[in-house]
Symmetry: C2
Subunit: 565 residues, 2 copies
């Protein structure tokens, strides 16, 4: 009341410029961003308005604003744009995280204890689901039994997949629900383990017999889905990922995203690509959705699968697999089916993302784009997902029609030995050819394919410029000529990831006017050794000016964080 | 600039009270609302803030605010709360409106002209769909033919239902798509009309044979759905309806509502009741949705069908139909199925709306509510939809557990002769028993069941206090002891309709703080004769402070409307 006039004036200013009175200053940082020209730019402070957008990017000599509500002293730490993962499965990541993982158990007893603990911690789950057990690792010379599961969980069905996915372990409740009894015959292609000397099912089901139980597992309930979404967001934020291209969004996934948006708990930005044109139409109608919830969610387009994966020899190749001479893999769609789906989506201005792993698949998508680009003009940003094995003769075509190559650096390091087995060395010239594809003129963007790989983008960055795995192998890098610079890798995980999802100008760079999505880390990603980079500690993750992740021993009360309120 | 200090002060006030600078004044009106005690209250002016809420309700002697941006001079006309239709089918209403209606054609030639005109006006529709033709009315002694349709529309399939729904008329394109040829046999229970002396299908399909074509009609595309929603909103607004309980919302319906909300073209408030528990879960998850888009949309609960309708003898009766002594109708669910569905929804706090027409169905829902109310405590507002035929012995039960009786006045006037045929007079004591049910203590709310009946709420109001049809029949009203007062009828179409959908305090009354949803009409609904009331002209319809409907010869530039900007 003493300062009435000033208060009134402050309020008035608040009216003209709604956020001035609620700015946040992130100061004393070593800021790194890709700028509007694709170059690296540095800064030492950020001013964030209460609309969650960057109001000012400050250099060392810039004057700091005086009316700041909340101030963070970065103590010289590094700040980079929030990482954008251009290819992952948000709900898959979340479900993997809330499913019991037995892969690191070393004995049946340890597994039993883990199962009991999980069941106790999840009283609301109607089925206990898990994976990863391996009786060989446990030192058992037999499969485990239903009775051994009943001993720890008898009140609810339990169904646990073996590490290889080729067998499952059920308790008696699960078998009862599935109606499996002595009278149940082994299905074609499958085997029901029986108690020695009897017909009584023992609890383990092999290959096709797993369906006897798996088919009875109820679809997840909305509460399960929401929990998975929450977990996925936690994991992404902990890894410094603030935006994710969700590849294969179902209506159920979308409804979870909307519940999160409506309920105010959508934290990570989701650029969704529907699981097929049916889901696309049901989710968004006859146009991509608007950006919803302050740019947190949009249905951009559709994900279309053209082939399978290399490991299972489902990738569609121009010539047979080196280790399977009668097999070239298979396209999942005919040429006209592919074009029809692409046309249907393109007609309604949806963005198209085609999964193509093998060189035949990539060649086919490139042809299809070339044919359709004349009809569906304008800024389409045709995406090819994975683009793992490309015929060198086709690489130049990535430079046409504004194609986006959405690739996953860690796949290269995980898959290289398998790829060498599947293909002759001569056919690996266009394999994981990040640099050649980018140099051809494609927009190169990076992702993790989580939960297939870890969503950690720093592992991706390290692979991107070294072509080496976390073990440092192979020495000098695998086909190192396809490595990209750190700067290009950072762009592929930030600004170019935004562009690939029509989000440029909204987020992806730390420049005035964009959403304040950033990560505070403990080392310089442009200078750290690959090993150091992989060990990067994410200290804080901010999305739209909100700090959604703070590393455990970073505290609100730490000297570096002061509130001006 | 001259008045800086004042401007600053004004801005500062603007900050505290964001809408003060953008108020709307509706003045010089004869305002009528149901007040918080359920009594009629009168007023002469409304001040609406720019948040779309009522800021002030003014009496004649109240001072008018000076800073008003937009002012409407009501010129003494009547203003009532926006009407709430507590039972209709929003998308059904819209689709009916965009489907070709031939019911008023008097010759084949007239019908052909109408079809050609409709096809030309709807170039984007893949199928031309229509209904209502009647060759008898046309003076034809035969069915029309495919060739006669081809003569006006040959480029697209055409499928037109006969007025009774028991036959359909296809053109050649439709028959081609359906694969109907000379070789197609008549299905059981159906007949394909043939060209005399040949096996060639003539174009008309009777009873079960209609499925041969109908099954090929593609599901509406999102653009069709959005058009239907737009039309439904236009119709409702034109009728003075500002909020609608949508009974049987599918995921496709919901997605249209969300597109409208996201795109800023959702005008009518929709309180949705999902088409079954599956749709409920998919739409909202494990709790009713929040109120979205400034109280424009909420998934409240689930619609459950317990029986059919009286006309088709599908309503479930305690004793056989008078005109079908072996038939009592049938429940669509067993007692335990009903209770299971209700429990599943109630467990997750969804509101439950059960369709019950016959006295057995009503008795069964009342029992189920009585049994479940102990388990699912709190404010549940169990809804019984229609409640048409109630055993007088059961009426008192409507007063328990806070039951909402959602009834449709016009059904009584349309159905009375049919009801008398179906049931003995003695069994009509509890038929359309609005007053008895309300007096028992239920919350009585009214709706139209559009598109089954017209959505015009003034016809509903007139029926409610007269028990007479638009023709004034029967003299003195049908079972006039069940008429309600005009005041109670108005509450059932406004404030109580809001309560029935958990919307009280948000809209439904014209009192300070509620959304400014109101209708300007040309006569006094509390004094007009029934005939006058049915002829009410809706002049303006406002939702949330936005005028979404202005009658054709009312103009923005009319002397009564002045903008202060």
């Amino acid at each position: 009341m003493i300062r009435l006039a000033t208060s009134v004036l402050a309020l008035a200013i608040g009216c003209w410029s709604a956020a001035a009175a609620a700015d946040t200053l992130i100061d004393n940082i070593q800021g790194i961003t890709v700028d509007e020209d694709g170059k690296i730019d540095n800064f030492t402070g950020l001013v964030i308005g209460d609309d969650g957008r960057i109001r000012e990017v400050l250099d060392r000599r810039d004057k700091r604003p005086r009316d700041i509500d909340f101030q963070v002293d970065g103590e010289g730490r590094f700040v980079i744009p929030g990482m954008i993962d251009s290819h992952l499965h948000v709900m898959g990541l979340g479900f993997a995280a809330i499913t019991l993982d037995l892969s690191d158990t070393n004995s049946l007893e340890e597994a039993q204890a883990r199962i009991a603990e999980y069941a106790a911690a999840n009283p609301g789950r109607r089925w206990i689901m898990g994976r990863g057990w391996n009786q060989v690792k446990w030192g058992l010379d037999r499969f485990p039994t239903a009775a051994e599961l009943d001993a720890v969980v008898a009140d609810r069905p339990v169904w646990l997949e073996r590490v290889d996915g080729h067998a499952g372990w059920a308790n008696s409740a699960a078998m009862r629900i599935a109606g499996v009894t002595e009278a149940t015959a082994d299905p074609a292609g499958g085997r029901i383990e029986r108690i020695a000397g009897t017909r009584k099912p023992a609890g383990v089901f092999v290959d096709a017999a797993t369906d006897l139980i798996a088919a009875k597992v109820p679809a997840p309930r909305p509460a399960d889905r929401d929990l998975a979404l929450q977990k996925a967001q936690e994991i992404l934020l902990r890894n410094g990922v603030t935006a994710a291209a969700d590849m294969g969004t179902t209506i159920e996934d979308w409804q979870s995203y909307r519940r999160a948006g409506d309920g105010g708990w959508l934290k990570v930005r989701i650029m969704a690509y529907a699981a097929g044109t049916g889901a696309m139409e049901l989710i968004a109608g006859s146009r991509p959705s608007p950006w919803l919830y302050d740019d947190k969610l949009r249905l951009n387009g559709v994900k279309i699968y053209l082939d399978g994966a290399l490991g299972s020899r489902g990738a569609w190749l121009k010539r047979p697999y080196a280790d399977d001479p009668d097999n070239t893999g298979l396209p999942l769609l005919t040429g006209s089916q592919l074009r029809n789906l692409m046309s249907r989506a393109a007609l309604d201005k949806f963005q198209i993302a085609v999964h193509a792993i093998g060189d035949a698949a990539n060649g086919e998508v490139l042809s299809a784009i070339d044919e359709l680009a004349g009809t569906y003009e304008g800024d389409r940003r045709w995406r090819i997902e994975h683009a793992q094995i490309v015929d060198p003769a086709d690489i130049a075509k990535f430079g046409e029609h504004g194609i986006v190559a959405s690739m996953q650096p860690v796949h290269q390091t995980s898959d290289r030995l398998m790829a060498e087995a599947r293909l002759d060395p001569a056919r690996l010239e266009g394999a994981y050819a990040w640099k050649s594809i980018a140099d051809a003129g494609a927009t190169l963007v990076f992702g993790s394919d989580a939960p297939v790989e870890s969503p950690d983008p720093f592992a991706g960055l390290a692979a991107a410029f070294t072509r080496q795995g976390a073990d440092g192998q192979p020495f000098g890098g695998w086909r190192p000529e396809e490595a990209v610079t750190r700067e290009r890798a950072l762009a592929a995980f930030t600004s170019d990831g935004a562009y690939a999802a029509f989000a440029e100008g909204r987020f992806g760079r730390l420049i005035e006017g964009e959403r304040a999505d950033f990560v505070m880390i403990d080392r310089d990603p442009l200078l750290a050794t690959p090993d150091e980079l992989r060990a990067t500690r994410v200290l804080e993750t901010w999305v739209g000016g909100e700090r959604y992740y703070l590393a455990a021993n970073e505290s609100e009360d730490a000297p570096g964080n002061t509130s001006a309120r």
